[in-house]
Amino acid sequence: MKDKITNIRIAGLGGMGVLKASLILSELLFEEGHDVKKAEVHGMSQRGGSISSDVRFGKKVVSPMIPEGEVDFLVSLEPEWSDVHKVSMKDGGIVISPADFDASKLASAKAINVAALGVLSRHLDIPENRWLEVLEKFFPEKLHAANEAAFKLGRNS
């Protein structure tokens, strides 16, 4: 009936970089020529509460919010709280969490979001150099090397 839409939900707690990760991901998908929509709620969540962001891409995306049972990839940055989104997943959907890489190898715990994008990158057909180019746009130069290392840690884990 319609061209396939891929649905990615990034979830965690306020302050973990959920919104930053979804912004990077959606900008990359946009630059790769997809129709992209991203939806989230700001506000109270920045006080350490639960937060999630939906990124949908494909030929033509209609609603910016992922319908129930249609999440293809759940990037769960704080499994204790964000694994609850598993109820919204499609059968056979993939969960990505910090357990997928050795977080102790990160220069800063703040880069967990970027490392998780590295894991996600293995499932999306986009060259590594494109990910790294877009990542650089979203961080000051002094953090480029650390973020590249975090991304590769996730991608190569």
């Binding site: 319609k2 992209v36 709620v41 700001h42 506000g43 006080r47 350490g48 509460g49 639960s50």
Partner: protein, 530 residues
């Protein structure tokens, strides 16, 4: 030569870009989720953007700009329209000469608000035309259109967004060359048009209703509405805003009338559309605004079940409404509630009051989270600035032992927004037991993401300006005791002082000043002038 640029933008960023390209001379507002980022984005685009002390002042400034034949944007969340309503409900009579566009961002589902009122219902009452974008492209297009229509009909326009339009990123295509220069400002005296005494307001009301008749005709004939013919004529859906996107995904085979200009509603056009379908329903977020107007006009649309008034729409809810499934409930996903940050000065400010068993009339900001466990230190919160008046009212009727425990607590930005008139009441009609106001001053508008206000001494872009002193204002108004403490370092002194003043019949204002810990690093940089 036109050159199309494509960008992935949030609805708020798209509004800012649209205003810039419409020749907007000034953007003014008060921060409020989900509208805050519009003026910040406008400032980054080199637009002239300012935070006003509150939405009413913002709207007044914007109207002045429009009276000067120039173009103004005013931004606010839905409840900000209540604050500025006094201005808007008569500016619709006076009209404008340049252009005035108000972006009012609704929060259905109340992600970060105290109610889920629907701006369309207020705009209907006030005679204010409304456009409703469904994505960032329309947020851009409709903002430009609103400036044109405001100028054409000489009336303030409202653009109603909702959370998922304001805070969703979708692709926007625009032509940089289409940007208009700012019109030259000029004042032409016309007393009968702008001084709304009864003799002038009576013909002005008739002019307003004539404008609505003209706009209705235009909207029916060529308004920014869209018809999508259905595969068959079984189901027709009338929708607007983000609800249209959910409904279109839920029922791609149905016929659609997408309303872009919803006050005045293109009623005649919708009636023609609805008459072609066996069954027609309205899918709209918030009040049954379109449903009610269409049914009153005799259109072939079903009444809406009360269930669909509450909360945010989704694709699944749209499917349930279409199926008439009243048992549908949006799955509840367990959430970690927001809380005050570790080390937040508000924790130190509220704990002594909770320990003393104070009855705390509270206000709106991060510190409202002090109402939650473990502090449970706030007893009421309704709207911006209400802490002071509510506290005074309690003091006036409660038995003395209870009255002496009442404290009003308000944040620094909220104090600037609407605390001053409460202080006037306190001095003018003091309760027999006196009163204590505590200003929890973290030197920023923290809840919405660290915006400046008149007390910070910095403008929207963080450049320095005059700084308003809470203490000096309180003394000038006539509060007897005005004291300042650091709630973290001088916690015991604060407790002692509060206890002492609660026992007197005097009027006291205590400022508890310690910067927000999230803002602290930025504040140090800004104070150094970096």
């Amino acid at each position: 030569m036109s050159q199309i640029t494509r960008k992935l933008l949030s609805g708020n960023e798209a509004v800012a870009l649209g205003a810039l390209h419409a020749g907007c001379a000034l953007g003014v507002g008060y921060p409020g989720t989900p509208s805050t980022e519009i003026l910040e984005a406008f400032s980054i685009l080199k637009g002239n953007a300012e935070w006003a002390p509150n939405e009413k002042v913002a709207a007044e400034v914007a109207l002045g700009v429009a009276f000067g034949e120039s173009r103004a944007l005013v931004t606010m969340k839905h409840v900000g329209l209540n604050v500025s309503q006094d201005l808007f409900f008569t500016a619709s009579y006076s009209g404008v000469q340049g252009a005035l566009v108000a972006i009012v961002a609704d929060d259905p589902g109340m992600a970060s608000s105290q109610n889920e009122q629907d701006t369309r219902s207020l705009a209907y009452a006030g005679g204010l035309p409304v456009l409703e974008p469904s994505d960032s492209q329309e947020a851009y297009d409709f903002t430009k259109l609103a400036f044109e229509l405001s100028h054409r009909w000489q009336i303030p326009f409202i653009i109603r967004t909702t959370t998922r339009v304001a805070h969703s990123n979708t692709i926007v295509e625009y032509d940089e060359q289409s940007a208009k220069p700012r019109p030259k400002a000029n004042f032409n005296r016309d007393i009968s048009m702008r001084v709304m005494v009864p003799g002038h307001a009576k013909p002005a009301h008739k002019r307003l209703r004539q404008k609505f008749a003209d706009m209705l005709k235009w909207n029916d004939e060529q308004g920014p509405n869209q018809i999508i013919e259905g595969k068959d004529k079984k189901l027709g859906i009338i929708s607007s805003g983000i609800a249209f996107m959910h409904a279109l995904e839920a029922a791609p085979e149905a016929g659609f009338f997408k309303v872009g200009f919803s006050n005045p509603m293109p009623v005649n056009k919708i009636k023609e559309f609805a008459a072609q379908y066996d069954r027609c329903i309205v899918i709209e977020e918030g009040d049954p605004y379109m449903t009610t107007l269409l049914r009153a006009a005799g259109a072939n649309v079903e009444p809406r079940e009360e269930k669909w008034r509450f909360g945010e729409f989704t694709v699944d809810r749209a499917k349930a409404q279409i199926a008439g499934d009243l048992s549908y409930e949006t799955p509840v996903i367990k959430q970690k509630p927001p809380q005050l940050c570790k080390g937040c000065p508000h924790i130190f400010s509220f704990q002594p009051m909770a320990d003393m068993g104070c009855i705390v009339a509270g206000d709106i900001g991060c510190y409202t989270l002090a109402a939650m466990k473990p502090i449970s230190g706030m007893d009421m919160q309704i709207c911006m600035g209400a802490s002071i008046g509510m506290g005074l009212g309690l003091r006036k009727v409660l038995p003395e032992d209870q009255a002496r425990k009442v404290v009003s607590v308000i944040g620094d930005s909220t104090f600037m927004h609407s605390g001053l008139t409460g202080l006037l009441e306190m001095v003018y009609n003091p309760p027999a037991t006196g009163h204590v106001v505590v200003v929890v001053d973290n030197s920023t508008t923290a809840m919405t993401g660290q915006q400046e206000h008149p007390g910070t001494g910095r403008k929207l872009d963080h450049s320095p300006t005059n700084q308003v002193s809470i203490e000096a204002v309180a003394k000038a108004i006539g509060i007897q005791n005005v004291e300042t403490f650091n709630p973290v370092r001088d916690n015991a002194k604060f407790s002692e002082y509060l206890k002492e003043k609660l026992a007197t019949n005097e009027l006291t204002l205590i400022v508890l000043r310690q910067p927000c810990i999230l803002a602290a690093a930025n504040l140090i940089k800004r104070n150094r002038g970096q």
